[in-house]
Symmetry: C2
Subunit: 143 residues, 2 copies
Amino acid sequence: MADKYQCLKLDNQLCFPLYAVSKEIVRKYKPFLDEVDLTYTQYIVMMVVWEEEQVSVKEMGKKLFLDSGTLTPVLKTLEKKGLIERTRSKEDERNLIVTLTPSGKALKDKAVKIPAQIGGCLNISPEDAVELHKILHKIMETL
Amino acid sequence: MADKYQCLKLDNQLCFPLYAVSKEIVRKYKPFLDEVDLTYTQYIVMMVVWEEEQVSVKEMGKKLFLDSGTLTPVLKTLEKKGLIERTRSKEDERNLIVTLTPSGKALKDKAVKIPAQIGGCLNISPEDAVELHKILHKIMETL
DNA sequence: TCAAAATAGATTGTGTACAATTCAATTACA
DNA sequence: TGTAATTGAATTGTACACAATCTATTTTGA
């Protein structure tokens, strides 16, 4: 009879490798992110602002799967660094609108090198990358 | 000419979906882990102790990709809950040995249901699960 | 053999994550 | 129209994660 605890082994779990790989890749980003003085979370927040130029905290939370409890302090830090501005919407004062400063816009040109640098570290085949992307997308939809 | 900032879009990144899916799955664990009064980190630590019965912090760190800065407080919490014991090795006092208590062993029988419960939430095909596992393993090796 | 190097954990400080609660602004509706 | 319900952020409290430093123990090598 097969060990009834087989399912409790780390190797047999799906979540643990995801958790571990995700953490290790984020760690790989560190030296490159240090160059632009951003943490990984700050980086993905900036990616949203670079794409949108104008976002509310709620919209950003939807894109990044983060809530205001996480975003508020990160956004305040980025504001202190002079990369973004936080202003209340005039139409609806409940909404906080995040916009890029010139300094934040300038950082985009430095950050544009990062994805290629990470790609160089990862050594993953294009087919695997596409397949992985597809599966992750599928999982995300069921959640 | 293609947008030179294309690579900075969230959708085109490999790390971000990994990070997001990993976080969302951990969140899916919560209600089931609440039943056994464990957080996700405490759960994977317990999984190591359930498999090994006897581990040092260093060995555990290698398996979980976590350092003592993370593990020390988690292990102290689990000790307070009465699930494990922390004792120094007699052969080498630098090593801290983690062992199961009867209560910790008993919890294994409750936890054994969790993987199936998560599986029921995920709705991922067996083929995709295998493929995902394979790719993640491959990435982990290059890191 | 004994001081220097190495090793294993613990500690400290910073930065997320997230649930739960609070608060202010807006909307709904009796 | 005025109060109740809703909404969007901020706040609070708990729990990681990790770099950097510190401490105690063990091992090495001149």
